[in-house]
């Protein structure tokens, strides 16, 4: 079995069971919250006066339990993490929104879901919170237009997880979070003893055993490890749509195809011609980054103007940087002398979930063949080896040849079949919790 189950990723009227599954998940969610005391605003607010830290205990027990199970399942290959919704990071709106939420929490005594558990069990304050929430959501919808640009762009880092931020294996991060949670539980109990006058000797001994089991699970996650790049690569899928225009007045037919990564390569769908790579620079809808993965020596001999040199062996080191490249319309165009090293780099990058990665068709050699015929100093190399420069250079002039930065007016009209399909951020503005 391969989780998550594709038929359950979204609700659809075609499959009514999806409503049942999500309804049951919600049922369990509400049940667990009410059962833990989250229908009672006094119990929730007590968290912030150190007398009863149930909120922290329940929340962090839930997080660490779900976390060890999730990453255990990912490590065992049951769950495909690239199909799991990871809240994209919008640092600015997240910080401001989080600070606002904290105020709402202590003033109102609930958070949105706990207010549901409260209102449904007859608590009038819970009902008022839900009503206020409807107004708050309405106000946001009406005022978002005044800061739409900031809201959608500021501090956008996309799908970033803590292991990428700290550059640690996921298992180690899981263990650290578990250790932090256990320390917080200990601290919370001490606070309850001091501020809440609680007798800790009456606490069940079983909780110590539970902590032990949790630690064993976290260590198991490290031991199992996470899928390596090859395993992730094998599971990748890409979708491409094809629109067939129909006679006037009829809806065009849109076909959607799903390809594996290897099919994308064999169908040449990720190879962009030198013309497209060049035109991308003057296309306002995208921000191309030319990644030159050749040796530094070759790069010094000749490279496209603006290309960044990262040798293919060191590409994994820059993945975190590429992932956090802020503008969402960034397109990475990878090139080597022909295609061999570029294809390997492409595989590494897509397996690491870097979006919008393409390969320069025929590599730098093809670029020179296309733009360089008038470049006098460039002489063909009679027998280049595989993935070697097919031209001879007298001096390492880098990007100071004319063909490194072709004249946009001279090449204004270039014809090519566009391969670049911008994959924009998976913006579920109403998704996640919202």
């Amino acid at each position: 079995m391969n989780f998550p189950l594709p038929e359950f990723i979204t609700v659809s009227a075609a499959n009514p069971w999806t409503y049942v599954i999500f309804g049951l998940i919600g049922f369990g969610f509400g049940f667990a919250l009410e059962m833990s005391g989250f229908g009672n605003s006094k119990k929730l607010a007590a968290q912030f006066y150190f007398t009863d830290l149930t909120v922290l205990k329940v929340m962090f027990t839930a997080i660490v339990t779900a976390m060890v199970l999730t990453f255990g399942a990912v490590g065992l290959g049951i769950l495909n993490f690239s199909q799991v919704w990871v809240n994209p990071t919008y640092l600015s709106s997240g910080i401001v929104g989080g600070l606002i939420m904290g105020v709402g929490f202590i003033v109102g005594g609930f958070c949105p879901t706990t207010s549901l558990a409260s209102a449904s069990t007859g608590k009038i304050d819970g009902m008022y919170f839900v009503a206020g929430g409807l107004v708050g959501a309405f106000l946001f919808g009406e005022t978002e237009k005044y800061f739409d640009h900031w809201y959608t762009n500021s501090g956008y880092f996309g799908r970033v997880t803590l292991d990428q931020v700290f550059n640690l294996p996921i298992g180690v991060v899981v263990l650290l979070v578990v250790l932090m949670a256990l320390f917080m539980f200990w601290g919370a109990e001490q606070l309850e003893r001091i501020f809440g006058k609680k007798d800790l000797t009456k606490e069940p001994k079983l909780r110590v055993a539970g902590a032990g089991i949790l630690l064993v699970f976290a260590l198991a996650v490290i031991f199992i490890g996470q899928p390596n790049l090859e395993q992730k690569y094998a599971k990748l899928t890409f979708t491409r749509t094809e629109t067939i225009p129909q006679l006037e007045g009829q809806e065009p037919i849109v076909n959607t195809y799903t390809y594996t990564a290897d099919e994308m390569l064999s169908n040449r769908l990720v190879f962009v011609t030198p013309a497209e790579a060049f035109k991308a620079k003057y296309n306002q809808s995208m921000n191309p980054v030319y990644l030159d993965v050749r040796s530094e020596a070759d790069y010094n001999l000749y490279h496209i103007e603006g290309a960044v040199n990262v040798s293919a062996e060191r590409i994994e080191e820059v993945v975190p940087v590429l992932l956090s490249e802020p503008p969402t319309n960034t397109v990475f165009i990878v090139m080597s002398n022909d295609e061999t090293a570029a294809v390997d780099t492409w595989k590494t990058l897509v397996a690491s979930t870097v979006p919008n990665v393409y390969i320069l068709e025929g590599g730098v050699n093809n670029w020179i063949a296309f733009f360089g015929p008038d470049d006098e100093p460039l002489q063909p190399n009679p027998n280049p080896g595989p993935d070697q420069l097919a031209y001879l250079f007298d001096a390492a002039l880098g990007d100071r040849y004319e063909s490194c930065d072709p004249n946009p007016t001279e090449y204004e009209n270039l014809e090519f079949e566009a391969r670049i399909k911008l994959q924009l951020k998976r913006d579920k503005s109403g998704g996640g919790c919202g």
């Binding site: 709402g104 949105p112 237009k145």
Partner: protein
């Protein structure tokens, strides 16, 4: 400290009121449900998105042209898009039903107001209304609330969700002192 409801109000079906489960046990159950949600559907838990979609649905009935002109609402209900066509809607109503069921089984479903000892019911209602308004505004700003960001994003180790979680706790603790009269 547990609130004791006024003795005059009886719980629904007259069931005896039972204590809450131990927080670690409740958290573990919640964690397992969250894990099952991630495993089966790839989505976590959430609710504030449901509130937004319900409001947007009503707006779309009253003023569809206005919805189509407002960028945020356009994404939810533009054209003939139905804002209720989302997984969060069954989760939202499931949570209502789940809370009700647990409260009823354990004898906690009764009409009452949970509040600090020194405020009137009316004050508490006003605060709850204001709090709800502020919270949901912030939740939409942060693209998720304590469930969708803190719980779900915390579990999937989403960097931004951890920042949001810290911000929620930090600002609640910072403001707690100023509203202490309402709770203690």
């Amino acid at each position: 400290m547990m609130t004791t409801a006024p003795a005059t109000r009886k719980s629904l079906f007259n069931r005896p009121e039972r204590p809450y489960v131990h927080p670690y046990f409740g958290g573990m159950i919640l964690g397992i449900i969250l894990f099952l949600a991630i495993l089966l559907t790839g989505n976590g838990l959430g609710s504030s998105g449901g509130t937004t979609r319900l409001v947007t649905f009503v707006e779309d009935q009253i003023a569809p042209a206005h919805v189509d002109r407002t960028p945020y609402l356009l994404k939810l209900a533009g054209g003939d898009k139905n804002p209720l066509d989302d997984w969060i809607i069954p989760v939202f109503f499931g949570a209502l039903l789940g809370g009700f069921t647990s409260g009823t089984i354990f004898g906690r479903t009764k009409l009452e107001t949970t509040r600090g000892p020194n405020v009137s019911d009316r004050t508490r209602w006003l605060m709850a209304f204001l709090g709800g308004m502020i919270f949901l505004y912030g939740a939409r700003m942060a693209r998720g609330c304590t469930s969708g960001q803190a719980l779900t994003g915390g579990t999937t180790l989403a960097a931004g969700s951890w920042v949001i979680m810290l911000c929620i706790f930090a600002s609640a603790y910072a403001v707690a002192y100023f509203v202490r009269k309402f709770w203690n």
